[in-house]
């Protein structure tokens, strides 16, 4: 009460009071502003490229051993993928063969993008038999990932020799640069450029170099919009049963 009365009776030091008040508001406001600036800038995800260019990554298995030609099965019915160029961006790794499980050499072809009418050149197969190809495993229609989208071998009941997406039925042809066979997709799968080193199929190595064709589904650029992979020099190949 004493305090209250004092304030009410003595003429208030209006200007002093206001001055300190303003200084206080400045200080608290500065804190709030700094906090808001950090917070707002934080929740907008970084849009710039996460990577400055396509990294060259060695394909390795879960133990860190390089993937050799013979460690990949021809016409493997399982789903074999690796992340590239960013985390959670799966890509198919296929060793293509004919119905007798003989390697099929894949030649570079020009692939059309139905949506734009544009064309790009698919790199063709890598390795001693030119039979190893890779592409983004994110469906270009609405972004389904394996196991919804997967390669069907020649022993499958349907879509044999094709990549088919169960979400809405898009089909791609890995023998022809992952071109569109049936819609609804309007874009082929982005092709992965592989390079092959070594001559012994039991100890040779494969490197992922870059992507050609359309941009990975829902991305503005292949190098942004995600988190970097844990390693900058290698990416792990995993096999799952579809």
């Amino acid at each position: 009460m004493a305090g209250n009365e004092r304030e009410e009776q003595t003429p208030p030091d209006a200007s002093r009071r206001n001055f300190i008040k303003i200084m206080g508001i400045v200080a608290v406001g500065a804190g709030a502003l700094a906090f808001l600036r950090g917070g707002i800038q934080n929740i907008i995800p970084p849009s710039g490229p996460v990577l400055s260019g396509f990294p060259s990554m060695k394909l390795v298995d879960a133990t860190g051993k390089a993937i050799s030609t013979n460690s990949l099965q021809v016409n493997n019915p399982e789903i074999v993928t690796f992340d590239y160029p960013l985390l959670n961006e799966p890509n198919f790794l296929l060793r293509l063969g004919d119905s007798n499980n003989k390697d099929v050499a894949i030649n570079p072809v020009s692939v059309t993008i139905p949506l734009t009418g544009g064309k790009f050149t698919s790199p063709g197969g890598a390795g001693p038999y030119k039979s190893i190809v890779a592409s983004s495993a994110i469906c270009q229609h609405l972004g389904c990932i394996p196991p919804e989208i997967r390669y069907h071998t020649f022993t499958s009941a349907s879509f044999d020799g094709k990549i088919h997406c169960d979400c809405h039925g898009s089909t791609y042809d890995p023998f022809e640069g992952f071109k569109v066979v049936t819609g609804p997709t309007q874009r082929p799968l982005p092709n992965v450029i592989l390079s092959h080193e070594g001559s012994d199929p039991d100890s040779d190595e494969y490197y992922v170099k870059s992507l050609v064709g359309p941009v990975i589904y829902s991305h503005t650029s292949d190098l942004s919009g995600g988190n970097p992979l844990p390693s900058t020099t290698e990416t792990t190949v995993t096999q799952t049963t579809g």
Binding site: M23, G31, L87
Partner: protein, 526 residues
Amino acid sequence: MNEPQPIPRKVPDYMRKAGGFMFWTGAMVSAVFLYEVVTGLILLFYYEPSNAYNSTEAFLNTVPYGSIILTTHLYGAYAMIVLVYIHLLRNLFVGAYKKPREMQWLSGILLLLLTIGVGFFGYSMSGDVLSSDATDVGRGIAGATPVIGQYLTALFFGSGTQLSLFHRLLAWHVVLAALIGIVFLAHFFLAEYNTIMPSGKDSGERAPAIDHDDGTYKQWYPYNLMYMLQIVLYTLGIIVVVPSILAVVPNVPALFSPFPQVSATSPLAMSVPAYPPWFLLFIYKELDFQFAQGLGPFYATVFFAGLPLAYLVLLPYIDTKASLKLVDRPITVSFAVIGVIYLAILSAWGALEPGIAIANTVVVLFYLVPLFVVPAIVITLSNAIKTGRLKNPYAGGIVLSAAFSGVTAFGLGMIVVSAKGNYTPGVIAGLSIVGLLFAISLLFAVGLFTGMYPPSVRKEPVPVSKNTYVAYSSVLGIVSIVILFEMLSMPFGNVYDQSLYGIGLGFLFIIGGVMIRLYRGQFYNE
């Protein structure tokens, strides 16, 4: 029971005086909780359970201000746990668990458990080595639960894959945080309903202690609001400044580093000692006891953590006497002190000697010595004070500081015993810290006892001229503008730059708190 009063209630002036902050430990916990909710929701935008460790590292390194948010979220959690313990001890010592506040006490115990739980799950989410060690201990305890062990493991830690593990951790972290919010509301409105725990002078140190407005209480607005804002700003300032400073200092030990350690799957993981979060070190150490290893992790936890918990839950129904005086409650006081001894020493022990088995003889010594020595000291002192043989206005302080020096002396002994002549730098550091605390508390107790401290002549506060206030405030105002300008013009860059931003931000909060203090001092006469 209470005269109807509008909520929020008015509170007595002494709560806003120097030293009154002990009445506001709950407010500090709430402030930190709020901060945790805000930063936690921001983190939720970025956390990917499928890539726990990598998404955490990416948030830290590539998202603007990610490092401030992540490190202060962690340190806010630490601060919240420490403050919850302080809040609990304060209410234990003033007897706030007594009639009519039993429900408040019980909901508080529930909040303690939820806070530790939410901290455990949150800590485990980063997927670094420390977090996976913590998950392993938790899994071990849950899995060893009789009959329902495997269901509990599945419930809390998922089906065994990494994805389901981190998904569950995230879900539990959010669920428990939400539960804290709900129980907190109940706890808070009970506090409003039962009024604040009045000072001993007002209540006559007898339960039920109810605060009555004698007509002199100032309005809630602006007096209380301003005071609360001041406390909130100080608290936030500290939880932002501390981790930001730790982030730029080199060689912070893993246990207190504000950053995640290496990934659990990295080959470097072997070089990091297996620590759970420091607030669970005590449970972790108990599992190292020889006979606890015979019991298995579940029964050991039930025994070591369950007993004190049961005691806390039953306390309002055991100690039903009306007196709130410390000297009338020697047993409660002793148990509180013993609890602190066990908690502090077990934690330090776990940090210094992680995972080293402890022989039964040492365990028995560790548990029995305080169990007999502390009550003996406390009861003797209380009787001396009660019968008037010991007349000293600082009796409570003497009992507490004597007990505390006992704690630390015992801690010193335990460190020496368990070091077995092997004085590693860690042991030396532990010895010197505990030794320093021992010396200080002993000096304090002796000083109070002999009347040397505090000096009996209280200094009259020097009236500060009004212009001084103006000068102070303008200096602080200008300083804060300068800090803000520096922060805004600083290039946004690496974690180091962000930590500097964090330090600036923390100081802005603290300056804001000081300004309110000045304003209250000048115009509210407080």
